[in-house]
């Protein structure tokens, strides 16, 4: 009971309590390597996005962290200990792996009450989390009759039951309506602001763009990047990402196109009178070239690569099942 008594806010972040540490984690199934020598750390007080194309090994990595599957090599710890060493889990880690991982024959309330009871959590927690996720009205109904969005909410409720310092979510936005997506983003931000570790997987960069502080990006089971969202976005314009570019409008599009092409850029017509889309030169260089050739510019806008572009560029060669690939 005492565990649920609310204390005054502790200083958030920095404690080893909520840290997820993954070290040289590897999981092989026969000749397939699902997770390949992964090393990264997830810190408290932040939302960390876990990104990768479908089949990159995100779900496998999350199951390894939760001790549901045994690694072929390496270690994963939560708060300094392998999660499986803990006799009871909900007060340490709340997890939503797959909204379908429930028995459809029970009501949502009975499902949560059994989870809470096994972890010595009081009944009041069930009502509190049901209220929190907006399922209080449907709690008495069989889970089999829930929509995917409702099952996601039920899974989030289960993750919140133990008021844990660490939360893991695997593709939590699937099946949620726009209002639900907005709510989940707000919830993740708030959980992180409370000092918790929030680790959220997704295969869509756009889902993480406005939610995550940091990113762990993997492809084909291997680590591609582990850095802040800002650092990751900067890669889009960098040498190992997509090429830089700009939109430009001029009174002499033909002349400017020739000059820029001669300088090594790719030029395409843009929207509207005299507009060009330039790739391969940054805005400063385009401005300088125009000045040199005395071509007046009406507009010049640097096109900063979006996170989506950075993500696509980095993972393009790490996709297992590309659409329209070689037969």
């Amino acid at each position: 009971m005492s565990a649920l008594v609310r204390c005054a806010a502790r200083p958030s972040g920095g404690t080893v309590d909520g840290m997820i540490e993954v070290h040289r984690l590897t999981k092989r199934y026969g000749r397939t390597t699902a997770v390949d020598d992964l090393t990264f750390t997830v810190h408290p007080g932040q939302v960390t996005g876990f990104l990768g194309p479908n089949g990159a090994g995100k779900s496998t990595a999350l199951r390894l962290i939760l001790g549901l599957i045994e690694p072929t090599g390496g270690t994963a710890t939560v708060g300094g200990r392998p999660f499986r060493e803990r006799p009871r889990g909900l007060r340490h880690v709340g997890a939503l792996l797959d909204a379908g991982d429930v028995h459809g024959g029970r009501s949502g309330r009975a499902h949560l009450w059994a989870l809470a009871r096994g972890n010595a959590l009081p009944r009041g927690r069930v009502d509190a989390v049901l209220e929190e996720v907006g399922l209080a009205g449907a709690a008495g109904r069989r889970i089999a009759g829930y929509s995917l969005g409702m099952k996601q909410r039920l899974g989030i409720a289960a993750a919140l039951l133990g008021d844990p310092p660490v939360l893991l979510f695997d593709e939590p936005l699937n099946g949620l309506d726009p209002e639900g997506v907005r709510w989940v983003r707000g919830l993740f931000r708030r959980l992180a602001a409370e000092g918790r570790t929030v680790f959220v997987s997704s295969h869509l960069m756009s889902e993480m763009e406005h939610t995550a502080d940091r990113l762990v990006v993997i492809g084909r089971g291997r680590l591609i990047a582990a850095e802040t969202v800002t650092e990751f976005a900067a890669r889009g314009a960098g040498p190992d990402g997509a090429r830089p570019g700009a939109s430009v409008r001029t009174t002499e599009p033909g002349a400017l196109a020739d000059v820029l092409t001669a300088a090594g850029a790719a030029v395409a017509p843009g929207d509207g009178e005299g507009a060009l889309v330039v790739t391969g030169l940054d805005a400063a260089r385009i401005g300088a070239l125009a000045l040199d050739h005395r071509i007046p510019l009406l507009e010049l806008t640097a096109r900063t690569a979006s996170l989506e572009e950075a993500f696509m560029a980095l993972t393009a060669d790490r996709v297992d099942h590309p659409a329209g690939g070689a037969r």
Binding site: A8, H103, R190
Partner: protein
């Protein structure tokens, strides 16, 4: 569906405080959780209720037959009526039905968790998997023992009330009667735990029911009682063990060369139950989910 952000502060705390104050893990909590899981499955009360009615009806029908074929003055002396009175209060037919029902319920309890993926949610909430499996088995055993006591007791009571009107009834105090009634009651949890163990090994609904039927019914049929070794194996089977316990008065029954014993039959029940639970716990502990 409306969600309120203002209720958030009541559902989640203002700081990550959980890890510091983990209460001592108690097995009783897991038993309570599994009891909630068992009774919240909608079909369970219906399956057990309908099963109990069918079993009692099958037994009562056998008692009625004996009642109709016994004269008003009661059975002739030396006819071994005690054995008959016990046998009709729990017939071989209802023992088979009980084994099927209990084995199916036991398998369903664990297979349902594996096929739905619920087992991952369960093990993520309670990483001590062996304790989870033990708690599930414990709840299953207690519920099915209650079911067995109810079916065996009611069948016995009704049969003896009927036969008593022909002076052919027996009471629990008569020699051998108590272990016959208790043996029928214990058959339910033993077979449920066998189904539970096989369900954990197989993890597939149809396949685990087939496996359970094979182990409960086909395996005993493969061993005769002509040789000491095959008799020993045969007597270790749940159905054979029950049959020996149901023999209240063996003096009127033709005995095989190597007869089973009451003690051995109880040990066979215990052995199957314990081995099934230990195998389930060991497998679940090691295997990826």
């Amino acid at each position: 569906m409306t969600t309120s952000t203002t209720t958030g502060s009541t559902a989640t705390g203002s700081a990550a405080t959980g890890a510091a104050t983990d209460p001592r893990p108690r097995f009783g909590d897991l038993l309570a959780a599994e009891w909630i899981r068992f009774r919240s499955l909608r079909p369970m009360p219906w399956v057990l209720g309908a099963g109990a009615l069918v079993l009692v009806a099958v037994n009562l029908n056998a008692a009625r037959y004996t009642y109709q074929h016994t004269g008003p003055d009661g059975p002739p002396p030396g006819s071994g009526y005690v054995g008959v009175a016990v046998n009709v209060s729990f017939t071989g037919m209802s023992a088979n039905l009980l084994m099927l029902l209990a084995g199916g319920v036991g398998a369903a309890v664990i297979v349902g968790e594996y096929t739905t993926g619920m087992i991952r949610t369960t093990f993520a909430a309670v990483p001590d998997r062996r304790a989870v499996l033990l708690a599930k088995a414990g709840v299953l055993a207690v519920v099915m023992l209650g079911f067995g006591v109810l079916v065996s007791g009611v069948s016995f009571g009704l049969a003896q009330a009927l036969l008593g009107r022909r002076h052919a009834g027996v009471s629990l105090a008569d020699p051998g009667v108590l272990h016959a009634v208790a043996g029928a009651a214990a058959l339910a949890p033993v077979c449920a735990l066998i189904g539970f163990g096989l369900g954990t090994l197989v993890r597939h609904a149809a396949a685990s029911v087939v496996t359970t039927v094979l182990v409960l019914f086909l395996l005993p049929a493969s061993f005769n009682e002509d040789h000491r070794w095959s008799a020993a194996i045969a007597h270790a089977m749940p159905f054979t063990a029950w049959r020996r316990l149901a023999e209240a008065d063996p003096t009127h029954v033709l005995q095989p060369p190597y007869p089973a014993t009451v003690t051995g039959s109880w040990l066979a029940f215990a052995g199957w139950a314990v081995a099934s639970v230990l195998a389930a716990a060991a497998v679940a502990h090691r295997r990826d989910v």
